[in-house]
């Protein structure tokens, strides 16, 4: 058996969801009366999986199924309530691409700030600063404040800086939300190079075409559990089929009826 780059054993993650806004008096009252202040939400349960070095894995699943929680556990941002995670090397993770910038700083300054937040030191980035900004296609905005950039431009900059990372294990969570087709081609070159480089990749996206271009394996997370794990095409086929049973909510609403009811409640003007 080959040694895994990632091994997740019997991992569960519980969040404690507060009932109300917590204040000192409410906390004290609940302690005195032994009342619960919060309830449990199990985001992940009994997750077991193993990722080999150099494997490119897509995590798929519906909103709220636990994909991002699993990636945060892998990255060490959250701690599992139960179980063990063993990593051969710590991953470099890119979650929301707009976080890690300061809107009041210039693009040039933000290259170093975002880089430092993702483990890239100024000494390494400084000689490549112009190239990083040019790769994002915003050379003319080098001295502009970040708040003057569009969401897509910020995302380009984030990916351009992150591309400087040379970690063996990379994690991407929904990173191509706002970029245009032109930049998608640029990122395509980057992700294809990553795929060829033998690095371990774990990616999530709701775009099957994006995942399919780079991943050979998919793991379908459903309600906090691994529902299916296998070759990308097979898992995606099963995953796509799962939507067939969904009630057509918007269609029902457009027709004037909610699923399970005869009619929508009439809106009140009071």
């Amino acid at each position: 058996m080959s040694v895994a780059a990632v091994r997740i054993e019997n991992v569960a993650k519980r969040f404690m969801i507060p009932h109300t806004q917590r204040t000192t008096l409410r906390v004290l009252r609940a302690l005195i009366r032994r009342e619960p202040l919060r309830h449990e939400l199990w985001a992940l349960e009994n997750v077991n999986l193993s990722i080999a070095p150099g494997e490119r894995v897509a995590l798929v699943g519906r909103n709220g199924c636990g994909k991002t929680t699993l990636l945060r556990l892998l990255s060490g941002i959250l701690e599992p309530t139960h179980g063990t995670i063993t990593l051969a090397s710590p991953p470099r993770a890119l979650f929301t691409t707009t976080i890690g910038f300061s809107t009041e700083l210039s693009v040039a300054d933000n290259v170093f700030l975002f880089g430092a937040i993702h483990g890239l030191v100024r000494r390494k980035l400084a000689p490549r600063q112009d190239e990083i900004i040019a790769r994002a296609g915003i050379t003319h905005l080098t001295h502009a404040l970040l708040k003057d950039l569009s969401m897509g431009q910020v995302q380009r900059l984030a990916l351009s800086v992150f591309a400087e990372s040379d970690e063996r294990f990379l994690v991407f969570d929904e990173v191509l939300g706002h970029v245009d087709r032109g930049f998608t081609r640029t990122t395509d070159v980057y992700f294809r190079a990553l795929a060829r480089s033998g690095r371990t990749l774990v990616m999530t996206s709701h775009d099957p075409a994006f995942l399919g271009a780079y991943c050979e394996r998919a793991i379908w997370i459903d309600a906090g559990r691994v529902r299916l794990d296998g070759p990308f095409d097979d898992v995606m086929r099963a995953y796509e089929t799962s939507f067939d049973d969904d009630p057509p909510l918007l269609q029902a609403k457009a027709n004037g009826a909610a699923p399970g009811t005869d009619k929508l409640p009439r809106p009140s003007l009071v």
């Binding site: 040694v3 091994r7 054993e9 019997n10 569960a12 519980r14 969040f15 404690m16 917590r22 204040t23 000192t24 008096l25 906390v27 349960e45 009994n46 077991n48 999986l49 080999a52 990255s75 060490g76 941002i77 959250l78 701690e79 309530t81 139960h82 179980g83 063990t84 995670i85 063993t86 990593l87 051969a88 090397s89 993770a93 979650f95 929301t96 976080i99 890690g100 300061s102 009041e104 700083l105 300054d109 170093f112 700030l113 430092a116 937040i117 993702h118 483990g119 890239l120 000494r123 394996r217 459903d222 309600a223 691994v226 529902r227 299916l228 794990d229 296998g230 070759p231 898992v235 099963a238």
Partner: protein
């Protein structure tokens, strides 16, 4: 490669984990780690050899409900999990692991970038901006000097210096602790979406505001030269005192950050407390002017007082006794250790609750 779906568990693994192994995760982990050391040594990049990471989360209790959940009841919660045992060795090992991360080059670079960004952001990247932020203590100094000069100024030596030292310490303490209490909340998106160590964000705030304290300390030293009260011994004594004071501020901030995540009105309560600090700390009056019980309370129950007394002794004289120095350093070290222990123990829960 075929995709398999188990009807019992509705999940398929590439490598099935033996059921018995899940009850002995530590044994398996040791074996795996031994294998990983061999694996990573084959990497061409030598730096990866030290990156065998065994995340310190394995303190789990056996999950009695796991078998029932495998039956397919997806949303059935597991049996209650025993609370993690928090003991001194666990805290020490965790603190040592963090120290290793915090002292690494990427984290030092991150710390410098965060402080630099805070400077540029807050003071508009200009010297004038930095001077503006020093205006408040001097406005306070002027007001207190005008009001209390007649009452206390005659009996206290170098009264403007006496006042400035008090104002600098109390305003730094109040500003930074108020900022630190809400820091996990204010930086929630950053801390939940990046691997930035939480301590780095906290320390960057302490350091960023520290420059104002530093400027005020330099001004105090210049005033001491003007009044002819500065000695080499006094200047040397200032260094550990300021370090101890920073430890106190960091410890209180970490403790407050954890408490804030459990009860949101802690911030309001703390704002009230810091407003009162200006009066319950001997900023514009001397301890000698208080009654014995009041002096006892203000010296022993207010952690700022020993620092202030010792610093005034160093810069204005007469020098405070060694007991005051020891008291101040003990307060700083104890509060930092207690605050960091609380932070390490509860940071994950605090982060998830913010």
């Amino acid at each position: 490669m075929r995709c398999r779906e188990s009807p019992a568990t509705r999940r398929t693994l590439y490598e099935a984990v033996p059921a018995a192994a899940t009850h002995r995760p530590h044994v398996r982990r040791d074996r795996l780690l031994a294998g990983l050391h061999g694996f990573t040594s084959s990497f061409p990049d030598a730096t990866l050899r030290s990156h065998v990471v065994d995340l310190p989360w394995g303190r789990d209790a056996p999950d009695a409900g796991a078998a029932a959940r495998r039956e397919g009841r997806v949303n059935t919660p597991p049996q209650p999990i025993a609370a993690r045992r928090i003991d001194l060795p666990w805290l020490a090992s965790r603190a040592a692991a963090r120290a290793h991360t915090l002292l690494g080059e990427p984290n030092r670079a991150l710390f410098a970038e965060l402080v630099r960004a805070a400077f540029k952001h807050t003071d508009h990247n200009s010297v004038a901006g930095a001077l503006w932020s020093l205006l408040a203590p001097f406005a306070m100094l002027s007001a207190l000097y005008l009001v209390f000069r007649e009452r206390f100024g005659e009996e206290l030596r170098a009264y403007p210096l006496f006042l400035l030292l008090g104002i600098a310490l109390v305003s730094y303490f109040a500003t930074v602790t108020r900022r630190l209490i809400a820091i996990l909340f204010a930086n929630r998106a950053l801390l939940l979406n990046t691997t930035v160590p939480r301590e780095t964000v906290i320390l960057s705030q302490v350091a960023f505001h520290g420059y104002k304290l530093l400027v005020e300390m330099v001004l105090c030293t210049l005033l001491a030269v003007y009044y002819g009260t500065l000695t080499w011994h006094g200047m040397l004594a200032m260094v550990p005192l300021v370090m101890g004071f920073l430890a106190l501020v960091t410890g209180v901030g970490m403790l407050g950050a954890v408490l804030f995540s459990f009860a949101r009105d802690v911030e309001h309560i703390w704002t009230l407390v810091t407003h009162l600090l200006m009066f319950v700390t001997p900023v514009f009056y001397g301890l000698e002017s208080l009654s014995a019980p009041a002096r006892f309370i203000i010296y022993w129950l207010n952690p700022l007082t020993p620092f202030l007394v010792a610093l005034r002794g160093a810069l204005i004289g007469p020098p405070a006794g060694p007991g005051v120095y020891v008291h101040a350093m003990l307060v700083g070290a104890t509060v930092l250790v207690v605050g960091y222990a609380a932070f390490l123990t509860a940071e994950s829960a605090a982060m998830e609750r913010t």
